[in-house]
């Protein structure tokens, strides 16, 4: 069919665009490294990584240039792509599952839980990595709590889950406020505040390695199940009458989305809007079928966050936190979307 061909072309375009943004992001920053040199440094790093250090290009670059490209920008660009893809994929899955395009991936408390975990570990003076780990675990814990509460409730499952999520979320938000109140105002309070605003400025290779597996463990099953996610948008009785085990499917989707969200938030802090706005644009371009929508959202989310992080790096001399920028970029886009009725237009 012609529509299928159009979607395929669009997908290629999106993939190429994301690849260009990925490479371009290595060139953006205060310290200028020529594109050719950057490409060689990356190729060298890749060769060395794959061959265990036995192969490599003979360096014609300064070690400072290599440090900027490999130690600073490489993890940062990877983190932006991973976090953007994870938040968008989690967001689009939640929106289908809750039959509501206004839902974001932190609906069940993943980010507020993570924020509380981070604030708590900053307060107790944990190491940088300890903060990440605590944020991840508290994010998972918050959603688990919401899920258990909703399982015990007698209300309809989607409704009870939303209610439980909102309650658990507000509980953790209050907890974070309490920690801010008692934290020392010289170091801890600014650190907590800055963490909550969301940023990728201090991301290192270790963080990327840490979030890669939970995000992969969430994204891969979701991609494999993506046709079935469509059926979660139907009333439960209908989906069940078509032979779909909605309870298990829903639990699987929540688990995958939560793994991705908690892992993302644990290194990036609170980054709003990505998981809400990107799926809308993906729907405009690729329609509603999750066979296309889910991979498209992930790819667009990755591209979007890489661009926004590039902006965060260069717009002003001191970095603007990513969470603030995504709102500045995301909110006007969203308003435009509402005014033009973009997502209602049939793809």
């Amino acid at each position: 069919m012609e529509a299928e061909g159009r979607y395929r072309r669009l997908f290629w375009l999106l993939g190429i665009g994301a690849a260009v943004i990925f490479f371009g992001s290595f060139l953006v920053g205060r310290y200028a490294v020529a594109p050719g040199k950057t490409a060689c440094i990356l190729a060298d790093a890749l060769l060395r990584g794959v061959s265990g250090g036995r192969l490599g290009l003979s360096p014609f670059w300064q070690s400072a240039e290599r440090a900027v490209v490999v130690n600073v920008r490489l993890p940062r660009v990877f983190a932006a792509a991973l976090v953007g893809a994870a938040l968008s994929a989690a967001g689009v899955s939640y929106q289908g599952m809750f039959r509501n395009p206004m839902v974001s991936p932190d609906l069940l408390g993943a980010s507020t839980g993570a924020g509380f975990g981070a604030a708590l570990s900053i307060y107790f003076g944990f190491s940088y990595f300890g903060i990440t780990l605590a944020a991840f675990l508290f994010g998972l814990g918050a959603v688990l709590l919401a899920y258990l509460v909703s399982r015990a409730s007698r209300l309809e499952s989607a409704l009870s889950m939303v209610l439980a999520g909102v309650m658990i979320g507000s509980l953790f938000t209050s907890g974070t406020s309490l920690i801010k109140l008692v934290a020392d105002t010289e170091n801890q309070l600014p650190a907590i505040t800055y963490w909550l605003m969301g940023s990728l400025s201090s991301v290192g290779a270790r963080d990327v390695k840490f979030i890669f597996w939970p995000i992969a463990a969430g994204l891969v099953p979701l991609l494999l199940l993506r046709w079935r996610v469509n059926l979660l948008t139907l009333p439960e009785a209908e989906a069940a009458s078509m032979g779909v085990d909605t309870k298990r499917l829903r639990a699987a989707v929540i688990l995958c989305a939560t793994l991705m969200t908690a892992a993302s938030v644990s290194v990036s802090g609170m980054i709003g809007w990505v998981g809400l706005v990107i799926p809308h644009f993906a729907r405009m371009l690729f329609g509603y079928d999750y066979r296309r929508l889910l991979p498209a959202s992930a790819l667009m989310g990755a591209a979007f966050l890489m661009v926004v992080d590039d902006l965060a790096r260069v717009l002003t001399t001191s970095e603007i936190p990513l969470g603030i920028l995504t709102s500045f970029v995301g909110a006007p886009l969203f308003i435009w979307l509402i005014l033009t009725g973009g997502s209602e237009r049939h793809a």
């Binding site: 039959r99 079935r228 069940a240 009458s241 032979g243 779909v244 509603y288 049939h346």
Partner: protein, 258 residues
């Protein structure tokens, strides 16, 4: 063959269904009639396995439906809801493809073969042109036919329809019911509920009349659906008449003025 034996059900309080028994086979489209609150939706819920009966059993080809897995049950029974108000604007083709999910393995998605079959089904309902259209842009009648197509895609032999034409205008009612009756003639086992006795007269070979959670009458439409039964069922005085049109005789009912 669907058999309901001594079925009873309650939501915790007074019984909604008590000792309901009947059996359904192919080739006789059956209308389920009954006033509001008679237990029609509850009966459907039990047949489809959403509700656990308190007593009695429901057998499908001699085996209790509780022994069927969801996937197995979906291969035997398809459900057509009263209306479809989708949260997202899926295309008609996508909606029909969703009906095939139960037959696929958990990680599989419909491919070329399934798409071709979905198009064939849409064609048989005269809807192939609507395939790429968003279901929200379809009329109520088209959407109901789409649900019919989705049920056919499920490839089940028994079709259970909960007031399939409740939200449709007169013309669309006729068009949808025409298809439903034809499916009955094609060997499907069709059970549809309706609040419109004339639909039963026109399209059903058999009538099940449900009142206060029990069966008031069960049998061929011509012998069962009488003035007395309709009056008892709805509590209004009803007259049944024969009308001739186009060389055929139809039975219809009208409510009498006091």
């Amino acid at each position: 063959m669907l058999e309901v034996r001594g079925l009873s059900f309650s939501y915790g309080g007074a019984p909604v269904l008590g000792n309901v028994s009947f059996s359904l086979g192919p080739g006789e489209p059956t209308a389920l009639l009954g006033p509001n609150g008679a237990g029609k939706s509850t009966l459907f819920g039990c047949i489809l396995g959403f509700l656990k009966p308190r007593g009695g059993e429901i057998l499908l080809d001699g085996r209790p439906i509780s022994a069927y897995s969801k996937r197995e049950l979906a291969r035997e029974l398809a459900y057509i809801p009263q209306s479809h108000s989708p949260a997202f604007n899926y295309t008609v083709l996508d909606c029909v493809l969703m009906g095939m999910t139960g037959a696929l393995s958990p990680l599989a998605a419909p491919g070329r073969e399934q798409t071709d079959r979905a198009m064939e089904i849409l064609k048989s309902l005269g809807m192939e042109k609507l395939a790429p259209r968003g279901c929200r842009e379809c009329s109520g009648g088209e959407r109901q036919l789409m649900l019919l197509a989705r049920a056919l895609a499920q490839d089940a032999k028994i079709l259970v329809m909960d007031e399939p034409t409740a939200n449709l205008d007169y013309g669309n009612r006729c068009r949808v019911m025409e298809r439903v009756a034809r499916l009955g003639a094609d060997g499907y086992t069709v059970l549809f509920s309706t609040h419109e006795p004339n639909q039963a007269f026109r399209y059903a070979a058999r009538v099940l009349a449900l009142r206060n959670g029990g069966i008031l009458a069960d049998g061929p439409t011509d012998t069962v659906l009488t003035q007395q039964v309709l009056t008892a069922l709805y509590g209004v005085r009803v007259a049944v008449r024969e009308v001739e049109a186009g060389g055929r005789t139809y039975r219809v009912c009208v409510e009498e003025a006091d």
